[in-house]
Structures are given as C-alpha cells and as structure tokens.
C-alpha cells in the first residue's frame, strides 16, 4: 500500500488542491500529480474531491483528514459551478504561511479579505498563468523560462487585469447583501449564516483595493472619498451601481468591441431590475412599470448584454429625438416608451411593435429584445415578412392585438360584430376561437377604419 513519510494534514481554509500540492511538496515531489492521478487533482482544483479520493489520501498518510466546509464564500453560486481553474494567490498570505487558500479560487473574491490586496493569477514579469506546483507556494513563477519571484502588481496594473466578471461578481455579492438585509429580511431571518454572508458581502465590496481606487476617482460625485469600510447597505448599493457604470465605460474603451456581460439568474428579478436600471442610469422604480407591461422583458436565459441595454437606451433616445422636436435631457423612461410606441405606430411599423413581444422566439441566442431590434433592424424586417408568410405566424390573438394597439379587446370585438372585419378573415382556434389575420388588421389600422383611440 502506498504511504508517504511526511503526514501533513489540511489547515482550516486550505483548498483541496493546495493541500495535495503541499503534501506532495513536503514529501519532496515537484508536482501534485506525483502522488494523486491527474483526474483526482482536477477534482481537487474544483474543490470537488469524492469521498473515495479523500479516503485514498487519508490512507497515504495513514491519518484521517477532512476539509473545512465553512470557509470560502458563503454566497450561493451565481455563476454555475464557478471556480477559477488556474491558480491565484495573495503573496502576503503566502509569505506569512505558504498554504493555498480555498477562497482564492472563488471568482467572487478578487482581493484577499485579510490583506486587502489583489489576488494575482499571472506572473507580473512574463504574464504566465500561475499553476498548481511547488513554485506557487514558494512564491516564484512556474514558467521555466522566467522563474522570477512573484511581485504584487501596481494599482494601475491591477485595474487593467480586473475582468468585468470580477466587478460584476462583487456587485452581485453586494446586491445579495441588499436583498437579504432589506428586501427579504423576514425570509432570511432564521438562516443561521446570515451574519457571515453579510460580513463576506461587505468585505467583498469594501476590502477591495481596486474598487477603493475607483471610489477615490468618483468621490467628486458625492460619494465618500478614500476607502469606505462601514457603508450602510443603501450606500453600498449605490456604490455598486456607480462603480459598475463607470466600469463599463472603461472596459469598453479597454476591450473594444467585446461586450462585458452580466451573469444573472432568471429567478432574481428584483436584482435584474436594479442592475438594468443602474446600467441605464435610471431608478428601479421607473423601470418596474415597463417590466410588468412586458415592454422590457428578460428572456428565460441567464445572460444579458449590458452594452446592449445601454444601446437600447440610445435607441430610445434616438427614436424619441427623431419623432419629436423635443430634446429629452433626462430620460423619463415612461415618456420615452410612449414616444417609441407612438413612433412605431405612426411609421406603420406595427411589425416591430409585435415583435416586441414575440422576438425572443426568433432570437433565443441573442436574448435581449431591444438590443436585437437595434442591431438587426433590417434583418428583423425580413424575418417579419417571413413570419407573415408562414401559416403559423400569420394570425394573432385578439388579446395580443389589443395589447399592441393599446385598445380594449371589446373594441375589436365590436369592429368584428359591426362588420368592419369580415368573418372570413377569421380562423378558428380551439381555445379562444377568435383570431384575426394580421394583414387585415394592419390595413384597417392604416385606413383608420378601426377608429380606435390611442
């Protein structure tokens, strides 16, 4: 039976991969794969060792071992199975105690909670990604052509290296704090880990060098200067929004056409509304009515192009500006939406209005309705034409029609009963038995025959 002479045990908070690495190193091996096979080590990197694997390691050192489950982020996983697979490290922690900590691989942690310095994941000299091997715990680059001592990055370097995901994850963590502390206080009241989650959330947003840097930059906007540590939750939320908005502008400049994205769950509607609002520079309260009227809608998929939303805002402004002589400096979303609808109707672009509801069916991959409209208008028209030609899509229910036209369904029914729309124009449907051919409706609308008040 395989045995190792040095029988170290995991520390509290040590990652599984880090423990295997340390065990290998203490026994004189250079790579963790020398004592466990690669498959097992890959599981350890994902912090997902099976019981049998842990038993095998226990038998190697002839001692029972267990990994602490209380350490690491207490937040529910926003990004599914999210875990950074290349090594990250806090150099100050490594200097104090050369162990690899579990929360360094959690994507929601960009900074060391203890030292408030950014975790590094590449060698600052050669940009080589850090790997799980002996060099990591000794604080040296594992690239055989470099091999120099790892150094802490300058603030500018750190900001360059922050990914949008890092920031977003911080914000989402902050929003979780908000959600728990303010919105669902009763629901979470009995949950024993609440203090820990709140503390971790605040740590994520405040013990963060790069965010602190940005705070200093935007302090002229009235936010507290320097390095806030004890923000109240509303301030925290406001801070998140500001940082996020600024961040998007910067990242867009940095990464050109690559669009940063928000990772959201389909069930987190309050969060979505808030984030959407923050992206558009609006209050969530302004956005809610649009949300519930289905004018803005999230599809069932989880991913939204934030840039797309900002562009949607520009689209609305553009449309508003073109259709009216008024210049709207401060976007009132309700007003803007009315203008959009009116504009669409006046331009007889009813097709677009219809697709406001039905587009996700065609653009499942692109998800965002307004984004798709803006970027794919020509294509959209073509799709609409195809849509009209197909037998399935040529009909529209009275309710949908009424909703698009902003009229009562009874008016349409009256129009039918008074003979404005012939019965031959109708096709039967098992559920409603009231369907109307779209073209007919369009014609009637064009000719003002419906005589419907908007």
């Amino acid at each position: 039976m395989a045995r190792l002479p040095i029988r170290v045990r995991p520390f509290v908070g040590e990652s599984q991969a880090g423990y295997i690495l340390r065990l290998a190193m203490r026994n004189g091996f250079m790579k963790p794969e020398d004592i466990v096979n690669k498959k097992v080590f890959n599981l350890a990197i994902r912090n997902n060792l099976k019981k049998a694997d842990i038993n095998n390691i226990s038998s190697l050192i002839q001692r029972p071992i267990s990994f602490s489950e209380t350490e690491g982020s207490p937040f529910p996983k926003v990004c599914s199975s999210a875990r950074i697979l290349h090594a990250r490290a806090c150099l100050k922690c490594l200097n104090e105690n050369p162990i690899h900590r579990d929360n360094w691989q959690d994507p929601r942690y960009t900074h060391c909670a203890k030292h408030q310095v950014m975790l590094i994941d590449v060698c600052p000299h050669c940009e080589h990604e850090l790997e799980f091997n002996a060099s990591l715990l000794q604080g040296y680059c594992s690239n055989e052509y470099c091999g120099r001592k790892l150094l802490q990055l300058s603030v500018d370097e750190k900001i360059k290296r922050l990914t949008t995901g890092n920031i977003e994850d911080c914000i989402i963590a902050g929003l979780y704090v908000l959600e728990i502390s303010e919105l669902k206080r009763k629901a979470y009241f009995n949950y024993k880990d609440i203090p820990k989650i709140l503390t971790a959330g605040i740590d994520l947003l405040t013990n963060n060098e790069a965010l602190g840097h940005w705070l200093a930059k935007i302090s002229s906007k009235g936010l507290p200067a320097g390095y806030p540590k004890n923000l109240a939750y509303p301030e925290l939320y406001s801070l998140s929004c500001h940082i996020h908005r600024d961040w998007n502008l910067i990242k867009r400049a940095q990464i050109g056409n690559r669009k940063p994205s928000l990772q959201l769950t389909s069930t987190s509607k309050p969060l979505e509304i808030r984030i959407l609002a923050s992206c558009l520079g609006l209050n969530a309260a302004d956005l809610k009515p649009l949300w519930y009227k289905n004018i803005l809608r999230f599809s069932n998929t989880n991913r939204y192009q934030v840039d797309g939303l900002i562009d949607a805002k520009q689209l609305i402004e553009e449309l508003v500006t073109k259709s009216t002589s008024e210049v709207i400096n401060e976007v009132d979303f309700m007003e803007a939406t009315k203008f959009v609808e009116q504009y669409l109707m006046e331009k007889s672009d009813l097709l677009l209005a219809i697709f406001l509801k039905d587009l996700p069916f065609y653009y499942q991959g692109k998800n965002n309705l307004l984004d798709s409209i803006y970027f794919n208008r020509d294509e959209l028209i073509k799709v609409g034409e195809r849509h009209l030609k197909s037998s399935k899509a040529r009909t529209i229910s009275i309710d949908t029609c009424a909703k698009i036209a902003k009229i009562s369904p009874n008016i349409i029914k009256n129009a039918i009963s008074s003979g404005l729309i012939k019965s031959s124009d109708w096709k039967a449907d098992n559920s409603t038995l009231k369907l109307i051919e779209l073209k007919k409706l369009q014609e009637l609308h064009k000719n003002r025959q419906l005589n419907l008040p908007l």
Binding site: I6, R7, D34
Partner: protein, 316 residues
C-alpha cells in the same frame, strides 16, 4: 584482545546496553568504526565481511540503539538502515533508500536527479544522521562497466549533497565500489576520497573467551545453560568447526536445536549433530559425529581453520 561486551568502547563513542551484543575484537572495532563515522560526520565508510560474519546483525543492533520516534507529522529516524535488494539502476538504488524512509509512492519513470532531490529532502525532514546501506554488492554488476560507475557516482552524489555519512556494508566484493577503475585505468577518485579506509569484519577466533562468550550468548538466547572451557572444550571446538565462528551460522544452528535440559557434552553433541544435519549440511563429515571425528582430530581441524583464517585476514 578479547572482550565480551562492548563496554570497553571509548567513552566518546556510543556504548550499547550491556548484553545487547556479544562480540570479539573485530566486531568491537567495526562498532567503533561505525560510531566514529556517525559522530564525526565528515567521511563515509565501507564495512565488509564474508556472509554470516554478523554485519547485518551489527548494523541492526547499532540502529536499534537510536530508536525512531514517531511524531504526528513524521517519523524521526536518526540512523537509517537500508538492506538493498537487486538493484539495476541508480534510480532503483535511490528508490530503495526512499522506501526505507517510509515513502512507497514511486514513479518508475522518475529521473535519478529528481529521486535524489526527493531523498535529500526527506533525509532532512526526518533528521537522518547516518545511513547504513547493507548488501551493497547487490548494486554492482559482475563487471566494472558503465553501470558500476553510475552506481559509484550515485553514492558520491548522495554523500556530497546529503552531508550525511553513509556506511556501505557488504561482502568483500563490495570493495570494488570504491576501487572502481575508469576505462583509462584511474581509480574512482570521486568516491574513494570521500570514504575512510574500508574495515573488514572477521569471524571470531577459536579457543578464546570471545568465542565462549559468543556461544554462551546463543546458549542463553535459546534457553540452554552456559558452557565453560573446562567442561565443554570439545563441544566448543566442534561448534566452531561447524560454524567457522560466524554469527549467522551459529544462530542458524541454535535455531534447530531441540529445547531440552542437556546434562553433559555427549547429549549436546548428539543434539547438535541432528541440528547440523538440518541447518547446515547433511553429510558424513558432520563435525558433531563423535564416531568419525574424535577430540584430537577436532583440535587439529581447529588449528587448520585458525591458520587459514589468519592467512585470509592477514592478506586481506
């Protein structure tokens, strides 16, 4: 010349507990040789001796005087005893030492330098002060070729990098490892300059107090009464002829003795005759066969043996 136990050792050297090991002057010298190397830590050593002379027993006894201590994280091994098996490559050699340290996780494709690095790390971690490598002739091929040189270089690397003295033990064949010649004819200087002059462990001489003491050690170990020179001279001589004064053969012979309360020499001789047949050789020239070999012949045989022994070790 003769001592019964190692209590005559210099006070600066480690003195084992009384009764743990009975030996004669050669064994005492070998013990001192190991002990000096252990204490000085500057040079390594080579201890040779024919098979069964008591090298392994000496090494094991020495190792036992420095017991391992088991901590939670690791074992502290002051003296590491390694018994080599068949060794075909330098990596194989290092792996056998690693196994003696308690590491059984091996990669057969491991390069010698990585295995050496690992070994050095573990020697340091486990606070090893002395390595005794027994049966070292196992790592030498029949001819002095490249492989033998590789092994010698591996030992040199180990001695240099570990800064721990190494005692190699083996049959007289093992001397080749430090007398190894390169193709050009020069000696393997790298290894010989790191080693003290080899020490040869010789069998116990006959008809001396050391021999009586050595036999009595086994007598007591196997539950028999002490033998004396006055009462059991013939028996002691016959035992000597049977075992050539070797610890290994003596232990083997006694292991086959039937446990009984033997009253006189004749009873002992009969019991030894049976034990000899079982343990050493089943032939007619059994030294315990009183009908074939009488006391005078035994004396003559002893003299012949002593002369041969003296010649062998004087020349050696």
């Amino acid at each position: 010349m003769v001592s019964t136990t190692l209590n005559t050792s210099p006070s600066s050297l480690y003195v084992p507990q009384s009764g743990t090991f009975h030996c004669h002057s050669s064994t005492t010298e070998a013990w001192e040789y190991i002990s000096k190397i252990h204490q000085n830590r500057n040079y390594s050593g080579l201890l040779t001796g024919v098979s069964g002379v008591g090298k392994s027993y000496l090494a094991k006894t020495y190792t036992q005087q420095f017991p391992q201590s088991e901590l939670d994280e690791k074992n502290i091994i002051p003296v590491l005893y390694v018994k080599l098996g068949a060794t075909s490559t330098p990596t194989d050699l290092l792996h056998q030492i690693l196994m003696a340290l308690g590491c059984t996780v091996m990669n057969s494709k491991e390069r010698p330098y990585t295995a050496l690095e690992r070994l050095l790390h573990l020697l340091n971690e486990q606070s090893v002060e002395l390595i005794i490598i027994d049966e070292v002739q196992e790592c030498l091929p029949d001819t002095d070729g490249i492989r033998a040189q590789q092994m010698a270089k591996q030992f040199a690397g180990l001695v240099d990098k570990a800064s721990i003295p190494v005692i190699l033990m083996g049959t007289p064949l093992a001397k080749r490892i430090i007398e190894l010649a390169y193709k050009g004819g020069d000696k393997e200087e790298q290894l010989s300059r790191r080693f003290l002059a080899p020490h040869q462990l010789s069998p116990c001489p006959s008809q001396c107090l050391a021999w009586i003491s050595m036999v009595n050690f086994y007598q007591l170990k196997y539950g028999f009464n002490r033998l004396t020179a006055q009462s059991h001279k013939d028996l002691l001589n016959r035992i000597y002829i049977a075992t050539n004064g070797m610890h290994g053969l003596l232990n083997k012979l006694y292991a086959q003795m039937l446990p009984a309360d033997y009253k006189n020499t004749a009873q002992y001789i009969r019991a030894f005759e049976e034990a000899y047949k079982f343990a050493i050789r089943n032939s007619e020239d059994n030294p315990f066969n009183a009908d074939m070999i009488n006391a005078q012949q035994t004396e003559r045989n002893i003299e012949d043996l002593d002369r041969k022994l003296k010649e062998t070790f004087t020349h050696g």
